[in-house]
Symmetry: C2
Subunit: 105 residues, 2 copies
């Protein structure tokens, strides 16, 4: 049994990324952030599509076209494959727990 | 944008099952229970594997071999394809929010 809300190794300087499931077509990750953001100029660019939810905390994801989406607890979006995106910010005073499902679309 | 923790249609007599994502290889569902359990003698039997988490509330899943797993908020298990299982109970006094990822294994 896994628990999404416990067993973190996140620190103020590092996000904790853990793989909860890996199968041929899908991968599930739990990510815990403590105020981190993507480095300036960095973009995620993935061959897989991603369904991502914020389960605790708050965060914002930015896209190459300038759009930004703010996510509070429970909010989920789908990011199509090959869509450049980055984490603009995560809550600075509480942990942000993400659940990300990467899949071949 | 979707929100996992809001917009429920669950009632004391019916579970609310909503599809959050459907793609060729993966399907994500949000299920909200209010004390429901699987009917006596009923077993889920699926061609897909399932990664399932309880995000709120509490529940128990039973398996054909007699094993039972109790899930509290954050707990997640993987149920391989073709594994008979059923919901033994869900919390009777608060909602139970499940997140289920079905995938071809």
């Amino acid at each position: 049994m896994q628990n999404i809300f416990s067993g973190f190794q996140a620190t103020p300087t590092h996000e904790a990324v853990e793989e909860l499931l890996r199968s041929p077509h899908v991968r599930i990750e739990r990510i815990v952030s403590n105020g981190q953001a993507s480095p300036e100029g960095f973009w995620y660019y993935q061959d897989e599509s991603e369904w991502v939810a914020v389960l605790e905390g708050r965060a914002a994801i930015g896209f190459e076209n300038g759009e930004a989406v703010e996510l509070s607890a429970g909010d989920a979006i789908t990011i199509p494959a090959h869509t450049r995106h980055r984490v603009l910010w995560t809550h600075s005073e509480q942990r942000t727990v993400w659940l990300a499902v990467f899949y071949q679309s």
